[in-house]
Symmetry: C2
Subunit: 617 residues, 2 copies
């Protein structure tokens, strides 16, 4: 790979410009997440308003994107400044957008500036066009995808659409970017960044082929992955039950966040499990571009109350936790419908669910709110967000997307909602709500969440893999030790490279070593890379991301009070908090990283060749 072709789209002037990122930079950051973070740090000015014209949205592929089938190389990475955290925002989306983007002639698209009028953009075999989006502004992503393809007379399987819903238009700080009906760049609110630029959708299509420098070695790398994945029991589990296979597993160890993180087990977990979904609602499985795992669920429902189109995208494990156990909601059909609506409105299901959970707790504890309780009542305008009742959740989806009443407060996220009512009832790190693994029951997740540069996230280090699933080795999830800090750090670095190549992280369950990717990366780029270099690139990326945060006033590596001070009352982790985990592991982690107080040292930056950013620390 000798260059990375970026399409720069200036919305203010409606001018476009091609730019080539040189090979030297690529070898330092690969593409995807890494290159995005590097460019974001260089180009987005300090203190920029995430919803202002100075912010940028990087839509990135990586060197292996769209090259070969059998492992998952179809994902897209987004980078920008997050409207939710005010720090680095980034998100990774499945489906087939990035492959089609490369086929259209560009390895990445950068949205800059701000349009006056709503537009959508088509990129077809190198030709870029702006179209008025007046007709679809205000509408959902489902209709928008349909509309865009109709306008272009595109065949169903040709090209890909990326769209935002009303949430992105209305500056909901956890608005998502949606593709193919339900593939989401969900976290950190980059949908609102696209919305602030008044870009409703992007269509990409073309016939260009991505470059593979050393075909033979590349093929060897692909075959290696294909074979290891193809024979692995994890593939079978993901294919049979999707990510929701985790519901029962995580519930069993007492780590399934329930009732706004006040319990670790949900007595009705079985009813919202992947097994139940497969048994009653699954129509067929669906993979991203080139993927043999096919963890995606295409589902149907039966009741008139909770209809979805037959074969629409089913909820992931994270959504099932956020809309299900965490709200004590066990009606899987309702969850399927609400997930569908959230995708249509374009909102991160994790942040939305957590925000509703906070609201339900506020509503339950209204008497403790003092004079704020009247304001809550006023803003709720009669809605009764009660545990386990789906109707208000569905209505809240619309209210948040429209920023109406209580929805206008909720649109700023769970932490903002809790703060607005003076309640310490939120599970978050760096201002982003936590996903579906209680760190009090899976200790290494405490560190993973606290040190995640994009805020509370399970995908920067997925310590669940060793703590629960035994990949690559099984650890005791309730034990706290420094070795885990090292494992978290290494996973963060490894995943940063994986997100930059870009390969799906589910591959790493089955091919969990950087070694597994050496031939693949060397083949596609022609570089003589090693496993160590892959890890070093990941570490460089992780440091660049941290530098972005430090420059913007990073609030540091913490977990919110609920996890540090309130012990789990139930399940195998009864009595546990996440306090000790952080106290023991965070200092060890900083040592492994070469950081002081959460900041890279001069020595570390020099070691990673990041001297140009010394000014930040």
């Amino acid at each position: 790979m000798s260059e990375f072709k970026l399409l720069r789209v200036n919305l203010s002037s409606q001018k476009v410009r091609e730019e080539r990122v040189d090979e030297k930079t690529l070898r330092r950051f690969l593409g995807g997440r890494g290159l995005g973070a590097y460019l974001a740090l260089k180009e987005i000015p300090k203190g920029a308003d995430p919803l202002g014209p100075e912010n940028k949205l990087f839509i990135m592929s990586g060197p292996v994107t769209g090259t070969a089938e059998g492992f998952e190389a179809g994902r897209t990475h987004f980078v920008g400044k997050s409207p939710l955290t005010g720090l680095l925002g980034e998100s990774n989306m499945g489906g087939r957008f990035a492959p089609w983007m490369r086929y259209s002639g560009y390895d990445g698209i950068v949205l800059e500036g701000k349009s006056d009028e709503p537009v959508w953009i088509s990129v077809i075999d190198g030709e870029v066009k702006f179209h008025s989006a007046k007709e679809v502004w205000g509408r959902g992503t489902h209709y928008t995808e349909y509309y865009v393809k109709k306008q272009l007379n595109a065949k169903p399987n040709e090209g890909a659409v990326l769209a935002i819903g009303p949430a992105g238009e209305n500056g909901v700080r956890f608005a998502s970017l949606i593709h193919a009906g339900g593939r989401a760049g969900g976290r950190t609110g980059l949908g609102a960044v696209m919305g602030s630029k008044k870009v409703k959708a992007i269509y990409v299509y073309g016939t260009r082929k991505p470059e593979v420098v050393d075909e033979e070695r590349f093929k060897k790398g692909v075959e290696h992955l294909k074979e290891k994945i193809g024979n692995h029991p994890v593939k079978k589990a993901l294919n049979s039950y999707g990510t929701a296979v985790l519901v029962n597993i995580i519930n069993k160890i007492g780590a399934l966040p329930t009732k706004n993180w006040r319990k670790g087990t949900f007595e009705k977990a079985e009813e919202i499990s992947g097994e139940r979904m497969a048994e009653k609602y699954l129509v067929k499985t669906r993979g991203c571009w080139g993927c043999q795992i096919e963890c995606g669920r295409l589902v149907k429902t039966y009741s008139p109350e909770w209809g979805v189109p037959e074969g629409s995208k089913g909820p992931e494990y994270e959504t099932i936790f956020a809309i299900g156990s965490n709200l004590e909601l066990s009606n899987l059909e309702a969850i399927i419908r609400i997930n569908h609506v959230l995708n249509d409105l374009g909102m991160d299901t994790i942040e939305f669910g957590n925000t509703v959970a906070v609201l339900m707790e506020l509503y339950e504890r209204a008497e403790e709110l003092g004079e704020k309780s009247e304001e809550l009542k006023k803003l709720l305008d009669g809605l009764r967000p009660v545990w386990g009742v789906p109707n208000p959740v569905l209505e809240l989806a619309y209210k948040v997307a429209n920023r109406d009443g209580i929805g206008n407060v909720m649109a700023n996220g769970a932490k903002a909602l809790a703060e607005a009512f003076g309640c310490d009832c939120v599970a978050e790190a760096r201002g982003m709500s936590l996903p579906a693994y209680d760190p009090r029951a899976i200790k290494a997740m405490a560190l993973a969440y606290a040190t995640s540069n994009r805020g509370g996230c399970h995908l920067r280090a997925y310590a669940v893999s060793f703590e629960v699933l035994g990949i690559p080795v099984k650890t005791d999830p309730l034990e706290v030790n420094k070795e885990k800090a090292k494992m978290v750090k290494e996973q963060q670095d490894f995943f940063a490279s994986i997100d930059s190549m870009i390969v799906c992280k589910f591959n790493t369950f089955m091919t969990p070593s950087p070694e597994d990717y050496v031939d693949l990366l060397a083949g596609v780029t022609g570089w003589d890379v090693t496993a160590d270099e892959i890890m070093e690139i990941g570490e460089r990326i992780y440091n660049v991301e941290r530098l972005f945060n430090v420059r913007e006033g990073d609030p540091g590596d913490y977990l919110s009070k609920r996890l540090l001070e309130e012990a789990l009352p139930d399940g195998p982790a009864k009595g546990e908090t996440a306090k000790e985990a952080l106290e023991v592991m965070l200092p060890a982690y900083y040592e492994y990283r070469g950081w002081e107080d959460g900041k890279p040292t001069e020595e570390t930056l020099k070691r990673l060749g990041l001297q140009e950013f010394l000014y930040i620390i």
Copy 2:
């Protein structure tokens, strides 16, 4: 009354201007509906886009508005060109807006032009201010009222707010104007006219007193009404059960439209009746300004699914039909919540319910739609509008207000939806859906609907009063005769004057003669009016309205096919259509009116002093 003080607000220039309408014109049109129609005809240019800057919104009081208590003189009348019908649009709203408008110094406000940015307007003791509405644009009317009063530090009982919701902003063609949480200028879509001018809300407050010329005679007139109303059993019925007292009455005679006008009785009518509402959900009664009837319901609900604020506005009979029987929905709590949401989003419940009814029929008969059935499926995006199921109805409210997916088609009204899918399954006249009385079971209503200038309406002539309630005399609702045509014509004229004074029509159940209003009107104006003059003024108004329609290409006095050709299958009116009623009564009606082919003749116009409009016929 020597003058009518109009405040002209030009939104394009943000300039305001006071104008006085002379006494001669007032004596010809009174105020309210009459003066509004006259000015609309003179000022709104032929062919004007209802949502363009050339349209105007007249917000009117009448000579008796806010003068004395004991009869209902608190209503507001709106006039403009209707986005729903393309003809004259007008609507009458309860509450206390018009009295406060008069106290603020103006008898009427005319919105003209179109603002670039969203604004709200305050009129306080003659002083007009424009405020940015950026903070509330996109929000519901409930929050908007709260916000406006908060901005001005207004006391709860001082002043009044008129607001639109997202439906009005998004050009929903049946968007309403909302005041006091649920008082609605619902029909003909004038909320969208206010929205097109980017006016979110108007606040009025002041301490000026309306003029009463002959205090003594006025007092005599007031006492007459007060006494007759106070002792009347209809007052008791309306006070006890609200307008929903009609559910059981109309169901009993087989005229309660059910399942999109395919039945005339609803087996679960009892469950959605005014009696049931009083028994289970009523918190207290509430009247408009100065009213002793208090037909308004303040309600509560119990279930978490269908919450409303305790004491919020309960649904009227029309809403209970539109969201209830016509959708075969018997869950009164759900109806209460949906009504609340429709008020918040700012939509006419009658047109919305009828549009959903058409959608349910389309969904049920999808197989008959041919190639359109795929499009319907696509636009529904999984929603299953099934008879009797409330959830999809609630979601459709949001989808229509946001003009998303199927909501974008529904936002143009029931007739437009039926036409889009090639289905003759709509009950309408002049493009507006019919209200809650099946004209196949109440024959005079067939004529009333067909000849209503604003389209299918029960309030231009309320033939139900004689056909069902026996006011002033009881007729046989299934009989067709020419005498009824005369009664309809006379009621139309009488009501046109009543809507121009402005007095609530419920008064006319108890004081059903123009004689009853002579002292009142003579007293307040100082004019030596007679009952005949009141009737003649009404006739003049009715002809002016008709002239507006004729100029805009009136589609004529018809009822849609469902009512003319499909016989009722059930109840006391089984086997009946409305065909004969129209065939017999319409020619007689034209004769009484002095019209030919639905148009006033030259002679009629001259008789009524409307020579200036001879150019139209």
